[in-house]
Symmetry: C3
Subunit: 442 residues, 3 copies
């Protein structure tokens, strides 16, 4: 209904606007606990975006010592695929709340991180801090005194940086080999049929996304209805509770033809109408994963690879699958927690509980190896790349920490578009706290 309404509005505007004007919409993400956090439950962004000239979004995120860049990356990775095109960040924080007042340099790092996801530009909420009403402390570029302060000066300098970068970034695009699949139906279903109090669908999505992000595996966040499996080499489904027969058939074919699938607990439980499948679970994928399960349990003291299993365990009965981890527990120890299986030319992993990031990353590393995706640096050094209009590669290397950090240039000869310095392959690039370089490969 929300998408239909937006399409109807866009139709009206479309009749009236000039040809050089555009239509966009400021999509936002789920707001939890106090910032942008994963898929929006109020509207399906993919459906709603189809009537727009280009997509836009707002992104608010933790700052100060909690600035990781993950929400910025997620916002971009979820907005860029809506129309397979660059997008605009129509709102993001300048000062905002006392817990977000940025440390020196953080605003610049944030701005570059938006560009690194494929943003065409960013706009701040708001120009000046309001003197009345509810958003008085959603502070803007200017404080209440309306004088140019530290924040205004830092943002002014970012504008100068953008001027340097624009010639190189205009028309740049990103191609991801990995898809993270999201679904509003699964989100609703897991609100009614919760994995555990305090563990939402978005928690699973962000658990999976944050592992990819921290491994510097760039991905598209794709609505299940928009997924074209053959566009990707690796597909990840965190808690894809609802899956139609068509989606399941598509994923089975994807693996059979050589794709790599990583699924977590609570995937493929019901059809698209939230009716639980009456067959062996996971429905029509037991041969793909080489396992089935009938029972779920509370983890209690159960561990996996020495760390507590969290929230829920599905008790996997591994038939053909290679058991990578069993539950460590007196009674549940006969069941598998993590399986891998070869099916056709592809490979399928299933992680049957909520575990640590380390556990999921170990699966993703195996899956990337299977898919031929190379891994190098890890967060807090974040490296994200674009392909410029002239065909050259542009790499953003960002230090999301207060520590000085050096790394060996993993590319060929590059030039830092901001600082101007050139680096040979393998030469050490130093980043101070909350620092960034934008490297153009020759």
């Amino acid at each position: 209904m929300a998408a239909d309404y937006l399409r109807w509005q866009a139709g009206i505007v479309g009749e009236l606007k000039r040809d050089d004007q555009f239509i966009t919409q400021n999509f936002d993400f789920e707001w939890w606990p106090d910032h942008s956090y994963g898929p929006q439950s109020g509207i399906n962004h993919f459906e709603a975006a189809q009537c727009l000239t280009f997509a836009s979004c707002d992104i608010y995120h933790p700052s100060q010592d909690e600035l990781t860049g993950m929400e910025i990356a997620y916002g971009g990775d979820a907005t860029r695929p809506l129309l397979h095109a660059p997008y605009l960040v129509m709102e993001t924080q300048s000062q905002a709340f006392k817990q977000w007042t940025p440390y020196p340099g953080q605003l610049r790092l944030q701005a570059m991180a938006h560009l690194a996801s494929g943003a065409m530009g960013i706009a701040y909420w708001n120009l000046f801090s309001l003197h009345n009403s509810a958003e008085s402390y959603w502070k803007g570029v200017l404080s209440h005194d309306l004088e140019e302060g530290r924040i205004a000066r830092e943002i002014g300098a970012i504008g100068a940086d953008f001027a340097k970068l624009s010639p190189h970034l205009a028309g740049a695009t990103k191609h991801s080999r990995v898809a993270l699949v999201i679904d509003n139906h699964s989100q609703s279903a897991l609100r009614w049929f919760a994995i555990d109090p305090g563990c939402s669908y978005n928690d699973l999505v962000m658990w999976a996304y944050s592992c990819l992000y921290e491994l510097n595996v760039e991905c598209d966040v794709v609505d299940v209805e928009a997924l074209v499996p053959s566009d990707y080499d690796l597909i990840v489904t965190p808690g894809l509770y609802c899956a139609s027969q068509q989606v399941i058939d598509g994923l089975r074919a994807f693996v059979e033809k050589g794709g790599v699938l990583v699924s977590t607990l609570r995937s493929f439980v019901s059809d698209e109408n939230v009716t639980i499948w009456r067959t062996r679970a996971p429905h029509d994928l037991t041969y793909v994963f080489g396992m089935l399960y009938q029972e779920i349990a509370k983890p209690g003291t159960t561990t996996v690879a020495g760390k507590p299993a969290q929230r829920m365990i599905e008790l996997l009965i591994a038939d053909d699958a290679e058991v990578l981890e069993r539950y460590e527990h007196r009674y549940w120890g006969e069941y598998a927690a993590l399986t891998a299986n070869s099916f056709g030319k592809g490979r399928a992993y299933y992680l049957a509980t909520v575990g640590t990031k380390d556990l999921l990353k170990s699966v993703l590393r195996r899956a990337c190896a299977d898919a031929g995706i190379g891994l190098a640096h890890e967060w807090p050094l974040v490296v994200r790349s674009l392909r410029a209009a002239d065909g050259s590669s542009i790499h953003f290397a960002m230090n999301f920490s207060a520590d000085v950090r050096g790394f060996a240039n993993p590319f060929g000869e590059v030039t830092d578009l901001l600082g101007g310095k050139a680096y040979e392959a393998g030469q050490t690039i130093d980043l101070h706290d909350w620092d960034v370089v934008v490297l153009k490969e020759a």
Copy 2:
């Protein structure tokens, strides 16, 4: 009103049903925090049961490492006295929720525990796990795949056990020498005039019941309106806040004639209409208990027998009573916490604060000794007995733990009706984890 309504319905059904048909009602217990927990506040079971052919109940309880058997025992001890007859468990858990998925063997132990309380039989909620709607994860005997799984196989084996036991258990009865008195008025009154936030009337009842259960002292849980004191040797009143003059006179006479009374704080405070008595507390029982009190206080750092007094302390002024424990506190130390008093041919104990189970058990051990009730094994070895129709005794010995447990047969020569093995008096009987034997005494 609820009881009247049920009686009216039963009257209609009674005119229409065949003579070989029966009328029952599935009574349930208070649901807190997430399972059956003590007296039901919505209806008075004793009043409501009078129109039934036989009583029924549903019992849901913690499982896995938290399976103690207490809720099963309480449910039976509270339902059996309603009509002084065997009852039916119309609902109990098979798989149910992830936190209750039973360990191997627990379903069998649970089934035997129901029989040990006097149940005629049990029915599971439900046959198969639902594929739609709110109770989809109140899982049944079959999982969503509708195939025979582990749970279905275990329940099938219980049916075979029941077939073996039925010839011996048909018509079996239980006679308890101990009454635990409950009261819906006191329950309501202590909701309005709470002992302490987070400490309900049911908490007091279950504190007292769990001590009796763990000491293997079998009791009837009796509504105060149905209590015939002379039927019992020992009467326990946890938090019997409301007590009519008739009840108080009855208990005084009970002690005078040789009965043993154990009462806790907040007993005998008001009449049956929740008007606080205008006399010395406890009303018309100060001579029975040999003490009075005028003040209550928050325990703060107060201890009793070295352990923290909890929730509330009544500051007992012991006149004639033997002071078993005083409060340990700079200012409250002059007041008694636990008293014993001889009155007529009987004995009366009063515990004036919420304490540990150990403290209350120490009182109950003295009281049992006074009443000539012998004590032997303790939880997690649970021993409960029935008298078979042929006059022989049938003893259920149950191991509510994951440990192997041996115990010396405290009876004469017995035969395990399930395993078939015979044991001499004093011979060691071994129980594996969550195991049970059903011993018929010759």
Copy 3:
């Protein structure tokens, strides 16, 4: 509106009452978390009091080990200035709730503390404990048994003490050199624009008040509308978020003429209509304080003088001010946390975060020295003074602790009006636990 309504009612009563009858109103304080705690948000006491013959209040406070006397002192210091006259305590606790059942002697200490604040007398809620309805456990002078118990005996003895004191205390008055400024607008504003969840305006007020109280600095708690700065030598403004141009001009003039001002974070942010000032903060006082600020932040790991900064930090840019403390933090370390500045003949302190009592007390000690206010004993020895009608001084010395406490008589020759004993200057006066002497200076 509430004040207007009360004035209308008082007008009607005024036409009907005899000349020897009086009109008063039982003002109470904010009730949080479970006792009287700072300014009342439902009515402006200063406005409402103007139609009364004399002011009254009710005061309920923690007891047992938590009895500090602070709420009693605050209640008096906030009620006495309403009409610059003695007041009546129309309600205070006798037994009340289990957490307030007083230790032996505490009732007497409490009664004397009320007199020490300038009360004409006290009335207890209530005479006897009710046998029905909601306040059954707001217990009175008599317990439910209506017999004379310990509490009644202690209160009877207090009556005898009052008889001894009345000839000396009739017509006694108190003059404070210090004003603590409160404001209902700021209270409302900081509910909407909270410093931090769980930190209310009243928390700031009581933080400041408790520091003054514990230092034995007697003060008037004055509504901002009633403040006459020239009446005082030292003015303290905790969280005076709203301040009209007139108030700001008045405080600037006060300092210029030699007054000492101590302000905390979130003072002078908006005008009286909660519109944030569009000028450098603090509005029109930057020269008085010698600093300005544009940014606020969450403290995170920030410390001040080695202790965590709490709730919020305002990032002070000290121009002329002496920086007494800087924030200790990697990025915020360039900003001041606590400043002192000389302006005209006076001095102004600004504490820009919520800190420990020790931190605020260190500021108040400096400010008292600047204002020529001497400091001696500290809580739990509480010394408060009145000027008797005959011009002599009467000092209440109170031991708010369970420890025996001796102190050197800091006055001239005095006589204890209760015990009758005389003390030379410098002679040791011994107080047992929760004890009090009332010393009349010759």
